[in-house]
């Protein structure tokens, strides 16, 4: 994790995305994310937040412009990227252990190595006691933890998260937010997060990108200068409140246009 800052980890140059019917989803997107950053895309629905993650992961291709991940094409960089979806997307016929090991299994990692890694991750996300359970026996928050562990199992350098906690209650969401920050501090991956919750974006990020809809474009980029490590105590400080207010104001501007 040394001098990576010279080459940006993610670079969007003049990126636009149109659907088949000509509707513009994203327009003139220029952004670069350096190693170790945690960047959140914040915006109302329909501003192409998920599309940005799909573009970074190469699940869809831009209509205009170029995207480079570590200097490679998105599809070529996939090995170093993990994607956490809105739903836990677990395989119901696999146990928690087998679900966490899925990525390693698909990439051909030998079984003993896989088992060791999975045990490590079970500890890390606090699920060791349900290692042999099936997804249907877990709560929503636990399922999401499995999904996070599965994404981290392949040692990603870049972690994409698409509103992963939107379906959870506020308590679980706050706890998982803290956990995401802890995991990032331990593992040092770069985070790209998509959300429509202002407080969540501010709490997690080093930078918040506010998007405006129709067509999706960058409205403002807000650096978040809050101290780290960030804990739940941060949420009750005036600095946090004022930063959230600033971001919320910026978000409201996009809707007023």
């Amino acid at each position: 994790m040394s001098a990576g800052s010279a080459v940006p980890q993610i670079e969007f140059t003049g990126v636009a995305k149109r659907y088949g019917d000509g509707r513009v989803v994203l327009n003139a997107l220029n952004i670069s994310v350096s190693k170790g950053e945690f960047i959140s895309f914040l915006g109302p629905s329909g501003c192409g937040k998920t599309t940005i993650l799909k573009l970074i992961s190469g699940l869809t291709t831009p209509s205009e412009g170029t995207i480079r991940i570590d200097g490679m094409t998105p599809a070529g960089a996939r090995e170093t990227v993990s994607y956490i979806f809105q739903d836990p997307t677990l395989l119901p016929w696999r146990t928690v252990t087998q679900n966490i090991g899925l990525g390693l299994e698909l990439e051909g990692v030998a079984s003993p190595m896989r088992a060791k890694k999975v045990v490590e991750l079970l500890e890390l996300v606090g699920l060791a006691h349900v290692a042999k359970a099936y997804p249907r026996e877990l709560s929503g928050g636990m399922k999401m933890r499995v999904s996070i562990a599965r994404a981290l199992a392949t040692n990603p350098r870049l972690l994409l998260m698409d509103e992963p906690f939107a379906a959870l209650d506020e308590m679980s969401r706050d706890r998982l937010n803290e956990e995401v920050l802890r995991l990032r501090a331990e593992q040092g991956w770069t985070g790209v997060f998509v959300t429509h919750s202002v407080a969540e974006a501010v709490f997690l990020s080093t930078r918040v990108v506010v998007l405006a809809p129709n067509p999706g474009r960058i409205h403002a980029v807000l650096p978040i200068d809050l101290p780290s490590p960030r804990t739940s105590a941060l949420r009750s400080t005036p600095e946090f409140d004022s930063t959230v207010a600033r971001a919320a104001h910026s978000l409201r501007e996009t809707l007023a246009q």
């Binding site: 996939r78 994607y83 979806f85 119901p92 016929w93 899925l102 990525g103 299994e105 698909l106 990439e107």
Partner: protein, 263 residues
């Protein structure tokens, strides 16, 4: 447990009531024996002719079972082909509906002509009639995988084989069982219907359908009833066997196999 006993007692009560009603009808309307035998006469027929009843049931079970296994194998293979592309589905799916709607009694004589009478012909009829639900349900299961799961597999550079064996096939297993449940019932019906036309008439080789035909021509109505009873038991057995397999394979992870906690 207590609830289960009550359910059982209720079922037994209904059954006893039906027998009493049956006997009453015989007494009140003085129905001749060859039109409607008494429950006792049917029980007597089951007892007296148990060996031949067993042989007939065995033959029909073999034909229906063979047809069902073949339709599962072929059905899954066809479903795998259908799952490959929308074009293949659009081109060939109508023919599976045709398979379901073609009157089996109309094509039975054709099959008789092509294959000759006997067990293979009857199994073929059971196969044809039970194929469509397997194809339809398995295809549905194979193509209804959550898009994000497919994306997940793409993100890990999964090979087509991995996508098939680790994602699509396991995802389709519950749907396959739904198809098998439907198919198991109609495979038995198909075999019995098939025997009416294409069953072997050699001594000791006639299945339930053939025996029903024979018993009715001889006015052995009590034996006819015994045969119908055996056919019903056979159909139930097939159904319960599939139900058991479904429970066995899905009990740990699938919602359908979850036992309600109130029982």
């Amino acid at each position: 447990m207590k609830q289960r006993l009550v359910t059982l007692a209720n079922a037994a009560g209904v059954f006893a009531g039906l027998l009493v009603f049956w006997q009453l009808v015989l007494w009140i309307f003085r129905v001749p024996r060859y039109m409607l035998p008494s429950p006792w006469a049917v029980a007597q027929a089951v007892h007296d002719r148990f060996p031949s009843l067993l042989v007939s049931t065995g033959i029909t079970a073999e034909e229906a079972g063979g047809g069902l296994v073949a339709s599962i194998l072929v059905g899954v293979i066809v479903a795998l082909l259908f799952a490959q592309s929308r074009w293949v589905r659009k081109m060939f799916y109508p023919y599976t509906i045709l398979l379901q709607t073609v009157p089996i009694v109309a094509i039975a004589p054709l099959i008789l002509m092509w294959v000759g009478s006997g067990t293979p012909a009857v199994a073929l009829i059971a196969f044809i009639i039970s194929l469509a639900p397997i194809i339809a349900n398995t295809t549905q299961g194979l193509i209804s995988v959550d898009e994000n799961l497919v994306h997940l597999f793409i993100m890990h550079n999964a090979s087509p084989a991995q996508r098939l064996f680790k994602l699509r096939l396991p995802h389709a297993v519950p749907s396959l069982f739904v198809g098998m449940r439907i198919a198991s019932g109609i495979a038995v019906i198909g075999a019995i219907t098939g025997e009416l036309y294409a069953g072997s008439s050699h001594v000791g080789e006639g299945g339930l359908g053939y025996s029903i035909l024979y018993a009715s021509s001889q006015l052995q109505t009590d034996y006819l009833f015994a045969l119908v009873l055996a056919a019903t038991v056979l159909g139930f057995s097939f159904f319960f066997l599939v139900m058991f397999l479904e429970w066995y394979f899905l009990r740990r992870w699938h919602e359908s196999a979850r036992v309600p906690e109130t029982e």
